[in-house]
Every structure is written in C-alpha cells, then in structure tokens.
C-alpha cells in the first residue's frame, strides 16, 4: 500500500481543523507543563548561582536529600524483590488467592497517600496497636519493648516510618510492570530449563531474569521516581522535624512556608532534574524494550521454511 497516497476524505480533517487541534494541544502543554518546568529553574537561579549552591548545600537540605535517598534506597530494592516474587508467583503458578494477591498489589494505587500515612500512624504510632504492645506498661514482648525503649527506637515521626510509608506507596510499580510481561511470556521456557536439569535458582537467573530485565528496569525507574517524590503519606508520618525527618519534598514545603521561595525552588530543581533524568532513562529503556520486542515479532514474520 502506498502510504503517501491521499487518504479518503472521510477519515481526514481539513488542514484548518488539524492545525487548530495541534495548536490547542501545544498551547495546553506549554501552559501547564513546559512553563512550570522552566519557571522552576528560573526561580531557583533568581538570586544567582552562589545562592543556589548555598541553598542546596545547606545542612537542612543535605539532611533532607540524605533521608530521601535512604528511603528510596531501602524501598526500591525491597519492592524490586517483592515485585519479582509476586509477578513470578502470579504468572507462573496457579494457586488459591491469586486474584486476591493481584488486587492487593493495586491497593496503594487506589487509596489516597494521606490515608496510607494515617494507617501507619494508627498501627505503629505510640498510641497505635503495635505501639501499645511495645509500651513498657503493657508488655507483650517485654525484652523487645525494653530494648526498643532503651535505644529510643521510634517508627512514627522518625525515619523508619518514612521508609515504611515509602515502601507502601511504591509497592505496585515493579509488580505491575512485570505481571503482564511474564504472563505473555508463558511458562514453557522455564519448563524447558527444568527438563534440561536446571534447578529453581538456575532457571531464575539464566532464563527468567534475562527475559524480564528491561521490564524490571522500567519498573525500578518508575518506582524510584515515586519513592523520591512521595509527599502525602510521608508528610503524615514524618512529623516534619527539620534536619531529622524531612525528606526533600517536605523540605521544599517547609522553605516555601517560610517565604524562602528561591530556596524552595532551588531544592525543587533537584527533584525536577531527577524527573528529567527519569524521563530520559524511561525513554531509553522503552527504546531498548521496543527493539527486543520487534526482534520477537520478526521471529513470527520469518517464513517457516527449512
């Protein structure tokens, strides 16, 4: 078929309508996406490079960056392992409760992050269920409670709560990415590996993982972006103690509340940069993945001849 041939009239619009539609889309994107993005960097550099550097190297800012990296550094690997396990279980085995697991994985997507944070406060807070059990007056596990008290271990209004909340809201990313992929790939390659004498781990490392690596990387990138950018759930459990329990998004809010707009935007520019890097990586992985997929579709195109 000649692609350049004029399309039948019924499926095309007049040039005026086309230009109008493209114009509306571009105007909308510029107004709501490009303009804010540029303004972040303009505002951040409004008082010069020196002030920018001062803002991002401020001890409070550094502590926020550190905590954000810590939360993402724990949440992303854990969710990566969990995501692979869950996707593996769902795609490769039939078991009772498979659909329940599938629904549960989506739970963090379907509840508001603020509610996720509140749940953690209620469960782990000083007055919460587990908090009461760990209270020395009410010792269910006296030794553990004492040890925790001695070491001033807290979950809520402390880094552990932030890590837990981050893990919760980022659970679905890796699993959601892998489940459709692994379902589509089926089980026969794993079965082939088993019959050839490979054990469970060998099958995973040599067959399953290479097949899902691009999907997994994609999930990790999205998971990391969300983990570092999470605001709602973290803001509820953090207590916002500056220099101790503020993550980068919370730090930005605090600066903004202090009318330190340039400082707020300087910190925000870091997250914006992270977003741009994520976008770049995502595009690259999608490109790689598409290349791998097109190789597979070629596979179907090859005439089945000797």
């Amino acid at each position: 078929m000649n692609v350049n041939a004029p399309l039948p009239r019924s499926t095309t619009e007049s040039p005026l309508v086309r230009r109008l539609l493209i114009g509306v889309a571009l105007a909308f994107l510029s107004l709501f996406l490009f303009l804010p993005l540029i303004s972040v960097f303009v505002q951040a550099l409004a008082k010069g490079l020196a002030f920018y550097w001062h803002s991002v190297s401020d001890p409070m800012a550094l502590s926020a960056i550190k905590l954000t990296c810590l939360a993402a550094g724990i949440a992303v690997p854990l969710n990566c392992v969990f995501g692979v396990c869950a996707a593996w279980a769902i795609a490769k085995f039939d078991f009772r409760g498979r659909n329940i697991l599938l629904t549960l994985i989506d739970l963090p997507f379907s509840v508001s992050p603020v509610i996720s944070g509140l749940i953690y406060v209620l469960v782990f807070g000083a007055q919460g269920w587990l908090g009461l059990y760990l209270n020395a007056d009410h010792p269910a596990l006296p030794r553990l409670a004492n040890w925790l008290n001695d070491h001033d271990f807290k979950i809520i209004f402390a880094p552990p709560g932030i890590v837990l909340a981050t893990i919760f809201v980022t659970i679905p990313f890796v699993a959601r990415e892998l489940i459709p992929l692994m379902l589509a790939q089926g089980r026969t390659e794993e079965e082939a590996a088993r019959v050839l004498g490979a054990g469970g781990w060998q099958t995973f490392w040599r067959v399953t993982l290479p097949n899902i690596k691009w999907g997994l990387l994609y999930g990790i990138i999205l998971c990391n972006a969300r983990a570092m950018g999470e605001f709602g759930a973290v803001s509820v459990v953090s207590g916002k103690i500056r220099g101790r329990t503020n993550t980068l998004p919370l730090h930005i809010e605090a600066l903004y509340d202090d009318y330190n707009f340039t400082g707020a935007f300087a910190a925000a520019s870091l997250l914006a940069l992270l977003a741009l890097v994520t976008l770049g990586l995502k595009t690259w992985v999608e490109y790689k993945n598409a290349a791998a997929l097109s190789l597979e579709s070629q596979e179907r195109m090859v005439p089945t001849s000797l």
Binding site: E189, R194, V195, R206, N211, E299, V302, L306
Partner: protein, 358 residues
C-alpha cells in the same frame, strides 16, 4: 529395558485428562501418541517428563525399570521438545544447546572444551553448523525445531519426548523434517515418544502407534495393524476418510442397499441395524451393473488434481452421499463425469458389532 507407565490417572477438577493409562515403550522404539485434541496425549507426555504429576494412587512411571514417579523433571533425564520449541530467546543457538550441560553441578559438568565439542557435534547432526551464533529469532521454524531437538539430545537423555514436533510447520517442511527424524532415530536409536494429531505422520514415522481417546488408549499396534484391523469405529474413523453405510447385519454378513457383504467379527443370528464402514479407496466404480454386488449411484463432483482422483457420489435409492478414490489410471480409463450414473461396488466392508457411535 524400556519406558513404562502404569495406572496413570490425572483429573483436573471434574475433567479426566488421563484415565488409567498403561503403556510400555521398548528400548529404542519410536512410538506415536495419536489422538484428537483433548484426548490427553500431551498430558501423558508431560507426565512422563515430570512436568505433570499423576493423581496419587498406584501410578508409576518407570525408566528402564527404575521408578521415577517421585523424581522431579530436572532429575529425570528425559529430553523434551516443546510444540512451540521454547528456545531460550536471549541465548544463541550454541548456548541453547549447551544449556543442559552448563547447568549441571560442578562435579558432573563437562569441561568447557568438551562442552564445545559436544555442541559442535550436535550442530553438525542438525546440519546447522554455520548458525551457532544466531539467536532463535533469526531462524526459520524448521531450524528452530531442530535446535530444540539438539538441545534435548545434548543432555544424553534416557528417553526423547516430542510434543507435536512438526505441528507449527508448513506442509513441505513437515515432510522433510519427518524423514529427517526417522533417519535420526535410525542412527541414534533412542527410545522416543512423540505426540501428534496427524494420523499420516504417526503412520509414516512410528514403529508403533497408540491411539488415545478421552484419556484412555483406544488401540496400540504397528501402523499396519491399526490401519488394517482397527479395534473400534473411532480408530477406523480417525485413521482416514471413511464412508458410513447403514445396513442390517445377520449371520456374519451385512446387507447394504440390497447387496450382501461378508462382515467378519459380527456375532449373533438376530438381525440388527448396523453401520458399515468403507474407505473411499475400497469403493469401485463401473459403468455396467455386473453381478448383484453393485448398486447405482450418481456422480456429484469429480476432482482429479494430484495422483488420486476424488469423487463425490450419491446413492440413487436414497441414503445420502459418499466419496470414492480412484488412481489416476483408473480415472483416465473410466473418465467419469459429474451428473453421470454409475454402478458402485464396495470392495471391503467393516462392521463393528458393539457400539457404532463415533
């Protein structure tokens, strides 16, 4: 020295995939499991490989007398070729074949040079030496199937199991590959089971054919045995085209359209309704009525493409259409035309006395 399954039953919920199967494959034998889809043939093959487990009971899978029922697939040493090849898509042809050797525990893993030598030898066997570095996606269907076979052979299996080995290939490649498999089997003489739904394939390639239906073995025997002496109407129908004629049996003969034919195997002296089975190539067509053994019919359609001519005919005294096959020479001698009236003789009639439902 054989592969044997005993009392294999497998149920999925209320569906019975395998119903008390017993089968023995002699050492070095090539056996086809033939049956329609849903007859349980693939389930049986997967059970032998250890990819499915039979329902508990006194089920047994024996490899050369050794009970492997409880041994997982990875330790059974069965070579398995999947219907859609299941080649590892990220590994080259060479590494696909080497996989089974590389995953062995250190103690039994051959040295790198030995692995290379063995893979080269197998590449040579499947006539794909120059393609070792290609990815499976860069091969044609027939090439992939041969790689899948080589990969299964690399681990020196005790038994080779092939699931619809030619199912996804086009007709020409099927035939070539079939011949190649037969030749390969002559050379390496490995006990082999293969699943197919293509009766022609089973009859041509196998030493013995087991015909499965609804989870049980309907008949097992050499291709000649089952073709010439089918044990049931199902087998008769499954092995090739067939015409059904209703008639009446009595005293070891059957009457169709007023003509009497010998019907060995039928018993009883009471007259009963029966259905007679006649292969299209056992239908003879003449212009003259000859003796009393013929009945008149009308030619509906002629198709003389290829070495065998196919004719569709209709019985004049009612009873519907049937088909006949003539050799090219017979066809040229007779020169039948559509719309012409001829006389038909049935050379060989088979009547099953018990149950004639197909």
């Amino acid at each position: 020295m054989s592969v044997e399954v005993k009392n294999i039953t497998k149920k999925y919920g209320r569906f019975t995939a395998l119903d008390n199967i017993n089968l023995k494959v002699e050492s070095g034998e090539l056996v086809a499991l033939l049956g329609p889809s849903g007859s349980g043939k693939t389930t049986l093959l997967r059970t032998i490989a250890g990819l499915e487990f039979p329902d508990p009971g006194n089920a047994q899978v024996l490899f050369y007398g050794e009970d492997v029922t409880a041994i997982p697939a990875s330790e059974r040493k069965a070579g398995f070729a999947f219907q859609h090849y299941a080649l590892f898509r990220h590994l080259s042809v060479f590494e696909n074949i080497a996989f089974g050797l590389r995953v062995r525990p250190k103690a039994t893993r051959p040295r790198e040079t030995e692995i290379r030598a063995r893979v080269e030898k197998l590449l040579n066997l499947i006539q794909l030496e120059p393609l070792g570095e290609r990815l499976p996606s860069q091969l044609s269907g027939g090439q992939r199937q041969r790689v899948a076979l080589a990969r299964a052979l690399a681990v020196e299996p005790k038994v080779l199991l092939l699931d619809e080995p030619f199912g996804a290939l086009d007709a020409k490649v099927r035939k070539d590959l079939r011949r190649w498999l037969r030749q390969l089997h002559r050379e390496i003489h490995l006990t082999t089971l293969f699943v197919t739904h293509d009766q022609e394939e089973a009859l041509e390639v196998a030493d013995r054919v087991a015909i499965l239906r609804d989870g049980h073995i309907e008949q097992i025997g050499t291709p000649e045995e089952i073709y010439d002496h089918p044990a049931s109407p199902f087998v008769y129908d499954f092995l090739g085209n067939v015409n059904l004629f209703s008639g009446r049996v009595k005293d070891g003969s059957v009457v169709i359209s007023g003509t009497e034919y010998a019907a060995p195997g039928t018993a009883g002296d009471t007259e009963a309704e029966a259905i007679a089975f006649v292969r299209p190539h056992d239908v003879r067509i003449t212009r003259e009525p000859g003796d009393q053994k013929t009945f008149p019919a009308l030619i509906v359609r002629c198709n003389a493409a290829g070495p065998i001519a196919n004719l569709e005919l209709e019985r004049l005294n009612g009873g519907g259409q049937f088909s006949a096959q003539l050799s090219k020479e017979e066809f040229q001698q007779l020169q039948p035309k559509a719309g012409e009236q001829v006389f038909v003789e049935l050379k060989k009639v088979k009547v099953f006395s018990e149950d004639y439902s197909i």
